[in-house]
C-alpha cells in the first residue's frame, strides 16, 4: 500500500485523452491535442463540446446536427419543471441546478451513459440556470428558442430580449475556456460515480455537488465578491494590505497545477479590458498588488492568478450576476464531465481506494447502554 498523499496530490487516478493540464509549461490541451489559446479564437462552445465528446472538430454538417440536437433538448420534463417551481426562488442556484438535473434524469431503468444523453443534459443546463435567474428576479420564465446558439439562447432566456452579439461572444468564449480541465475535483467525482456502473445523471449530479464548493467552482463568485469589497483601483493597495495582515486569502489566486500564468486567465484578462473597463481597472490593479504581496510572502511560489479571477470580470461584462457564476461554470464543464464519463466506459473499473485507520485499537468490547 502506498503512503497517504493528502488530497491525492500527485496521484494518477485516470488515463485520459479528453484534456491535459500541463502545469509546468502553462498549457491546457483539449482532446485532439489542441492548445486552448489556438482553439479559443476560432471555435464555439458547440464545437468544443463536439470535440470533447467525439475526439475531432466537427465539419459543417456535423456541427449542424449537434446544434439541432441541442436545440431539441432544451425543454424540461414534467417532473423537473414541477421541481423547479416547487423550490423557493431564493434557493442557492447551484442547489437548484443539482436538484432539477436529478429530477430531469430520473428514470425507470438503469442505462449506460450515451452521447445522446450527454447532449440532452448539456442542452438543459441553460434552461435551468436562466429560469433560476428569472425566478430570483420575480419574473416570468422565458421559454428556450431553437434558432439560437447555446450561449445566445442562455442570454435570451435570462433577459427575454435579443442578446447583444458582444455579450454572446463573451459568454461563448467563457464556455469554451472552462469546458474541461484535467482531473479536477468535480470531474473526478463524476468518474468515481460512473465507475460503479451508475448512470450519467448520477455522475453529473455528483459533479455539480463538487463544483458547488468554495475550493472549486465557487471561486469565481468569491473573486467577484473580493473585487466588490475593494471597490476601486485606488482602494486596492489599502484593502489588500489590510486583508493580508488579517491573514485573509486573496480570492482568485493560487492553483495546484499551474506553475506559470494560467493560459485561460491570460485570454480572459485580455477580453476583460473591453468587457468591463471599470471593473478591469480595479482588477488589474488588484492583480498587480496581490501578486506582489504574495511574492513577498512566498517568493518560492509561482505567479498565481487563476482563471476565476479574470472570469469574474468577463462574466460581469457579459451581464451575468455573480450569484450565477458557479452555474455558468457548470454549464460549460458539463461538456467535460460527460466526455470523461463516456471515456471511462471503455475500461470501467470501480474506483475504490484504501484508507488508513487512525482510530482506537480494534477489539474493545462495547458497553451495554445501561452501563454507559
Amino acid at each position: 500500500m502506498s503512503e497517504f498523499s493528502p488530497g491525492l496530490e500527485g496521484v494518477v487516478a485516470a488515463e485520459t485523452a479528453i484534456s491535459e493540464v500541463d502545469g509546468a509549461n502553462g498549457r491546457l490541451i483539449y482532446r485532439g491535442g489542441y492548445l486552448i489559446e489556438d482553439l479559443a479564437p476560432i471555435v464555439s462552445f458547440e464545437e468544443v463540446a463536439y470535440l470533447l465528446w467525439n475526439g475531432h472538430l466537427p465539419n459543417e454538417p456535423e456541427l449542424d446536427e449537434l446544434r439541432r440536437q441541442l436545440a431539441a433538448g432544451r425543454q424540461l420534463n414534467k417532473a423537473a419543471h414541477a421541481t423547479l417551481l416547487a423550490l423557493d426562488p431564493a434557493t442557492e442556484p447551484m442547489d437548484v441546478l443539482r436538484t432539477v438535473v436529478s429530477a430531469q434524469g430520473a428514470s425507470k431503468t438503469l442505462t449506460k451513459p450515451t452521447l445522446e444523453e450527454a447532449i440532452a443534459l448539456t442542452a438543459v443546463f441553460p434552461t435551468i440556470v436562466a429560469a433560476t435567474y428569472r425566478r430570483r428576479q420575480g419574473k416570468e420564465i422565458v421559454e428556450p428558442r431553437t434558432d439560437l446558439s447555446h450561449a445566445a439562447n442562455l442570454l435570451w432566456m435570462m433577459e427575454g430580449k435579443e442578446p447583444e452579439a458582444e455579450a454572446v461572444h463573451r459568454v461563448d468564449s467563457y464556455l469554451v475556456l472552462l469546458a474541461d480541465h484535467g482531473l479536477n475535483a468535480s470531474t473526478f467525482a463524476a468518474r468515481v460515480v460512473a465507475s460503479t456502473g451508475s448512470n450519467l445523471t448520477s455522475a453529473i449530479v455528483g459533479a455539480i455537488g463538487a463544483l458547488s464548493g468554495p475550493a472549486h467552482g465557487r471561486a469565481t463568485f468569491d473573486a467577484r465578491t473580493m473585487l466588490d469589497k475593494i471597490g476601486s483601483a485606488e482602494n486596492a493597495d489599502k484593502w489588500l494590505h489590510e486583508a493580508h495582515a488579517r491573514h485573509e486569502r486573496f480570492s482568485g489566486f493560487g492553483h495546484r497545477v499551474y506553475r506559470t500564468y494560467d493560459p485561460r486567465a491570460k485570454i480572459l484578462r485580455e477580453m476583460a479590458k473591453t468587457a468591463a473597463p471599470e471593473l478591469h481597472r480595479t482588477a488589474a490593479r488588484t492583480e498587480e498588488l496581490a501578486l506582489q504581496i504574495l511574492h513577498e510572502a512566498h517568493p518560492e511560489r509561482p505567479n498565481a492568478t487563476n482563471v476565476d479571477f479574470w472570469a469574474s470580470v468577463v462574466l460581469t461584462g457579459a451581464g451575468i450576476p455573480k450569484e450565477l457564476f458557479t452555474c455558468l461554470f457548470a454549464t460549460s464543464r458539463v461538456a467535460g464531465w460527460t466526455a470523461h464519463v463516456l471515456e471511462s466506459l471503455s475500461d470501467l473499473r470501480i474506483i475504490r481506494p484504501a484508507s488508513v485507520w487512525t482510530g482506537p485499537q480494534p477489539g474493545t468490547k462495547p458497553l451495554q447502554l445501561a452501563k454507559r
Binding site: 500500500m1 502506498s2 497517504f4 491525492l8 496530490e9 496521484v11 494518477v12 487516478a13 491535459e20 490541451i29 491535442g33 489542441y34 482553439l39 476560432i42 471555435v43 464545437e47 472538430l57 465539419n59 459543417e60 417532473a79 421541481t83 416547487a86 434557493t91 442557492e92 442547489d95 436538484t99 430520473a106 431503468t109 438503469l110 475535483a185 473526478f188 467525482a189 468515481v192 460515480v193 465507475s195 460503479t196 456502473g197 451508475s198 448520477s202 449530479v205 455528483g206 459533479a207 455537488g209 463538487a210 463544483l211 458547488s212 464548493g213 468554495p214 475550493a215 495546484r256 470501480i350 474506483i351 475504490r352 484504501a354 488508513v356 487512525t358 482506537p360 462495547p366 447502554l369 454507559r372
Partner: protein, 372 residues
C-alpha cells in the same frame, strides 16, 4: 513527481479515518474500534449512527436526545413532497431518493456540514422511500411516528402498521451492519465532494448516485434475480455450471478487500436461516455450489460470499420489494457517509488527483470552413 497510474486506485490511500476499518486479511469490520460482531445484534441503528458521528457510544440521555431529534425530523419539506409526487410512479427508487434528498437539502446559502444536518438527512431517507412505495401501490401516505425507532418507523411507514419485533430487529441489524464500510466508492464520492467545502446534501446526493451502480449497491436485487432464475436447490448445480460456460457472473460473490468470509455476510446468513427458511434452502445450496465452482476455477482466490447475497433474503423476509434493496442500503449508509463528510471537513484538503494524458501531441486546429 507523480506516481504510476493504478486503475481503480486499488491500494492507494485516499484518506485517514477513525470511522471504520475493513480488515480484509482477518475478516474484521471495525467501527470506531468496535468489531462489528460485537455491535450487530445488540445495538440500535441510532446508537451506531451516534458512534460513527461522535466517536463514542451514547449514554442514555444522549441516545434519548438523538432519538428525539430523529423522530422530529421525519417529515419532508413542501418542495420535497412536490418532487416526490411529480416523479413518474415507475421511477427507480434510487433516482427518487437522489432527487428528493437533493430537494430536501436545498439552502439559501451554502452551509457547512454538521451533526444536526446529518441527523436531519438520515431521518428523511425512510420517509422518502416509504412515501414513494405507497404512492407506487396507490396507497395513502402514512405519517411518520416520532415514538418509534428508526427501523420500526421505516417499516411502519411502508406498511401502515407496526411490524413484528422480529422484523424490526432484523432490519435494525441490517442497518447496523451496512452503516459504514471503509473507503468504498460511494463514501469516497462523498469525501471528494466534501473536499471542495461543498454542503452535506451535495455529498449525499453524489454518494447515492455512486451507490446506484451495479458494481456497488445495485447488487442485492441482482442476487434475487439470479436466485429466481435458478428456482430450486436441485437446479442449482446445473444452472450455475451452465451459466459459467456462458461467462455469467455469480451475483453476491467477490469483494476487493475481504480475504476471508465477510463478517457481515456471516451474521446475515444466520438471520436469513431463521427468518427466511425457503430462501435459505435455495440460497445456501447456491452458495455452496457457486463457491465450489469459483474455487475450481481460481483455487488461489479466497472464500467470497459478500454481504449482498444473504441481505437479499433478510430484506425479502421483512417484506421489502427488491427495487427497495439498494435504497435501503442507503438508509443504513447515510450514517457512514455523513460521518465521513464531517471527518473530511474537519481536516480538509481538496481531493484533486492527476491524470495521465494519453491523447495526441499538441497540434493546430483547423477553422470550421476548412474542415472536410
Amino acid at each position: 513527481m507523480s506516481s504510476a497510474y493504478v486503475p481503480g486506485l486499488e491500494g492507494i490511500v485516499a484518506a485517514q479515518t477513525e470511522i471504520s476499518m475493513v480488515d480484509g486479511a482477518n475478516g474484521r469490520l471495525v467501527y470506531q474500534g468496535y468489531v462489528i460482531a460485537d455491535l450487530a445484534e445488540q445495538m440500535s441503528f441510532e446508537e451506531v449512527a451516534y458512534l460513527l458521528w461522535k466517536g463514542g457510544l451514547p449514554t442514555h440521555a444522549e441516545l434519548d436526545a438523538l432519538a428525539l431529534e430523529l423522530g422530529s425530523s421525519r417529515t419532508l419539506t413542501q418542495a420535497a413532497t412536490i418532487t416526490l409526487d411529480a416523479l413518474p410512479k415507475d421511477t427507480d427508487p434510487m433516482d427518487v431518493l437522489r432527487s428528493v434528498v437533493s430537494v430536501q437539502g436545498v439552502e439559501h446559502k451554502l452551509q457547512k456540514p454538521s451533526v444536526p444536518l446529518a441527523i436531519h438527512a438520515t431521518a428523511s431517507f425512510p420517509t422518502i422511500l416509504a412515501l414513494f412505495h405507497r404512492r407506487q401501490l396507490g396507497l395513502a401516505p402514512v405519517k411518520p411516528r416520532a415514538d418509534l425507532g428508526h427501523a420500526a418507523n421505516y417499516l411502519y411507514m411502508l406498511n401502515g402498521k407496526e411490524s413484528s419485533p422480529e422484523h424490526v430487529h432484523a432490519l435494525n441489524t441490517y442497518l447496523v451492519l451496512l452503516a459504514d464500510h471503509g473507503m468504498n466508492a460511494s463514501t469516497f464520492t462523498a469525501r471528494v465532494i466534501a473536499s471542495t467545502d461543498s454542503d452535506l446534501a451535495s455529498c449525499l446526493v453524489g454518494a447515492i448516485g455512486a451507490l446506484k451502480g451495479p458494481a456497488h449497491g445495485g447488487a442485492p436485487s441482482q442476487v434475487m434475480d439470479q436466485l429466481e432464475k435458478i428456482g430450486t436447490a436441485d437446479n442449482a448445480e446445473r444452472w450455475l455450471r451452465e451459466a459459467r460456460k456462458q461467462k455469467v457472473r455469480f451475483m453476491g460473490f467477490g469483494h476487493r478487500v475481504y480475504r476471508t468470509y465477510d463478517p457481515r455476510a456471516r451474521i446475515l446468513k444466520e438471520m436469513c436461516a431463521r427468518l427466511n427458511p425457503k430462501f435459505y434452502e435455495l440460497a445456501s445450496k447456491v452458495e455452496e455450489t457457486a463457491l465450489q465452482i469459483l474455487h475450481e476455477e481460481h483455487p488461489e482466490r479466497p472464500q467470497a460470499t459478500n454481504v449482498e447475497f444473504y441481505s437479499a433474503g433478510v430484506l425479502q423476509a421483512i417484506g421489502l420489494p427488491k427495487e427497495f434493496f439498494p435504497p435501503t442500503f442507503a438508509v443504513a449508509r447515510v450514517a457512514g457517509w455523513s460521518a465521513h463528510v464531517l471527518e473530511q471537513s474537519a481536516n480538509n484538503r481538496l481531493i484533486r488527483p492527476q491524470s495521465e494524458y494519453v491523447g495526441p501531441e499538441p497540434r493546430k486546429p483547423v477553422p470550421l470552413a476548412e474542415r472536410g
